[in-house]
Symmetry: C2
Subunit: 345 residues, 2 copies
């Protein structure tokens, strides 16, 4: 991710969120402060737990002027229902992050914590943009060096109607264009065949809506089109998108392990394996979700990046970078301008 | 695939179906006759086109007594609607194959042709089993040496209700048990989280039905569970299954090409690449769809294997092997025995 130079973007980080918190989040915060010299961080979580760890993670000295610790006494656990943020855990780190964005004290938030709670806090506390009924998570499916196809929604919704899917497509097209500089992104709707007649009632109706919109709409996409570069954006219901995203992550992981195993499998290939190892490692790194850091929730009145629970410090740093990129490119204002008249709700 | 020794299984092959027909189908037929010494083949297609090619493909001499050419004057083209088999192309090779099964002249059929037409011919001409409202395509997702998870439905249906998904799960469990010898297959329903509360109305209702059935039901599965061996069978709507299957094929292809590219990327790694090439090749072969040859359509009154349009001769041979395996293990009778009382329609 290239350095951005917005002055003073303020990003709230849910320090307590994620399987490896607060170590991974604090280490990622330090790396982000080094990598993105203009940002300020709001480190949100239990002060009593965070403060003793700051020095250990290098969050001291000159960096100290670039972050604040914001106290949030509770944490949403992985077995909590998302709705705990509404009552029982109003003071949780996830909700406090969203509150900071709502109050304009932060320009964006990043959480590797409870995905459902992070989405609910983002949607209800930060709030939806006018004209957006359903915010959507945008997943970047890497399919080559520096290349990807955006799949959306990947889990914010599980029962999308046609107008929701059309809205996901529009928001992701703006995201691709504004944040990644893709001119006239090629947009498709996920279906089971290329032909216009293929699909469910819902996908066919979504296509009909998209044909009337000012977008570079290319019609139906298929599962394979996530990996061949034919589309910049593919829209679908969040249930489908979530299964496809998790399947791809699982398959990628299995293949990576399988390939290591195959290379180690014989003495002859071990020698070869040592030689190809660095090439393969570099290649797989291009496809690593950690390089993307987290998924933006599109359609809300602020920037919210939602990351993997298993995020390490590199993913946290890149999640902060993803938030910065969205802030830098004024993503929220750009989506707001298109969605309000479009009235996809 | 291990040799089977049923005596005289008769398999109808749609010689005209597939991108590489009739060359790939005839070459695959010859290989299958050698590999499976007990089978008889009915080679279905345009006699005028097939007969001059027989000798070229080694379909002569001692093999000649083990196959017949059955004339079918027309072919379903890839741009045809599936329903052409009902009127305009009643004499198409796909439909004639199904007719041979219906009439008991063949025990099973294999087609690499038009998927929709092959499913329609199988469902309408061969016919559905009592108690089966919706036949389902079962996809084998390879996730290790000799290991796989069956995903079903992968495209026969695009708007499945809960009772359909429960039926897919039951049929695939029987398939896993009878044909692959998996004792008490672990069955799941594809969803967006492990917790019982996660899912759509449809998937939650499917889970409720499956809990009442005599199956080793394990609850919700997620996309990643296709690749970690935690389930033997994962059931879902055919729209979802089709997208996931095609995404996995596309991602696998991209990774394979990307890895070759990475290995060739430097002189140092080229040397290593030569050494690891055979190990990797063997490993990827385990995951190659051609090793499975095609997908069985479960829930009909006969065996029908539906293969990739891009099938080569190896995939055709293995498709014939898949049909033989299903015939050998009396798959249809086993499913019939469970579905009739279950009344999943």
């Amino acid at each position: 991710m290239a350095e951005a130079d917005v002055t003073g973007a303020r990003i709230a980080l849910d320090v307590m969120g994620g399987d490896h918190a607060p170590q991974a989040t604090l280490a990622g915060a330090k790396d982000a402060l080094h990598r993105f010299p203009s940002i300020r961080l709001l480190l949100v979580g239990d002060e009593a737990k965070i403060k003793p760890l700051l020095a250990h993670h290098g969050l001291e000295g000159p960096l100290a002027s670039r972050f604040d610790v914001i106290h949030a006494p509770t944490v949403v656990d992985f077995h909590d229902e998302p709705k705990v943020i509404l009552k029982e855990k109003k003071e949780s780190s996830i909700r406090v992050c969203a509150q900071l964005v709502r109050e304009g004290r932060a320009d964006g938030m990043v959480s590797m914590g409870h995905t459902g709670a992070a989405m609910m806090a983002s949607t209800l506390v930060i709030g939806k943009l006018d004209g957006v009924e359903r915010p959507a998570l945008a997943g970047l499916m890497p399919n080559g060096p520096g290349k990807f196809t955006i799949l959306t929604d990947v889990g914010a919704n599980i029962d999308s109607r046609a107008e929701h899917i059309a809205g996901f497509a529009l928001m992701a097209s703006i995201y691709a264009e504004q944040v990644y500089g893709i001119s006239r992104p090629r947009v498709g709707v996920m279906s089971v065949g290329e032909e216009d007649t293929k699909g469910t009632e819902t996908t066919l109706a979504a296509c009909a809506l998209l044909r009337e919109m000012d977008l570079n709409f290319q019609g139906n996409a298929e599962g394979r089109d996530l990996w061949n570069g034919r589309f910049d954006v593919i829209a679908c219901d969040g249930f489908l998108g979530n299964v496809v995203l998790k399947s791809a992550e699982g398959l990628g992981r299995m293949l990576k392990h399988g390939i290591s195993g195959a290379i180690k499998g014989s003495l002859q290939s071990m020698l070869g394996g040592l030689l190809v190892k660095s090439s393969l490692k570099a290649w797989f790194a291009q496809l690593d979700y950690r390089e993307y850091g987290g998924l933006p929730l599109l359609g809300i009145k602020g920037v919210s990046i939602i990351g993997h629970g298993s995020s390490d410090s590199r993913a946290v740093m890149n999640g902060i970078g993803a938030a910065l990129k969205a802030i830098d490119h004024q993503l929220v204002a750009k989506i707001a301008a298109r969605m309000a008249p479009a009235k996809t709700d």
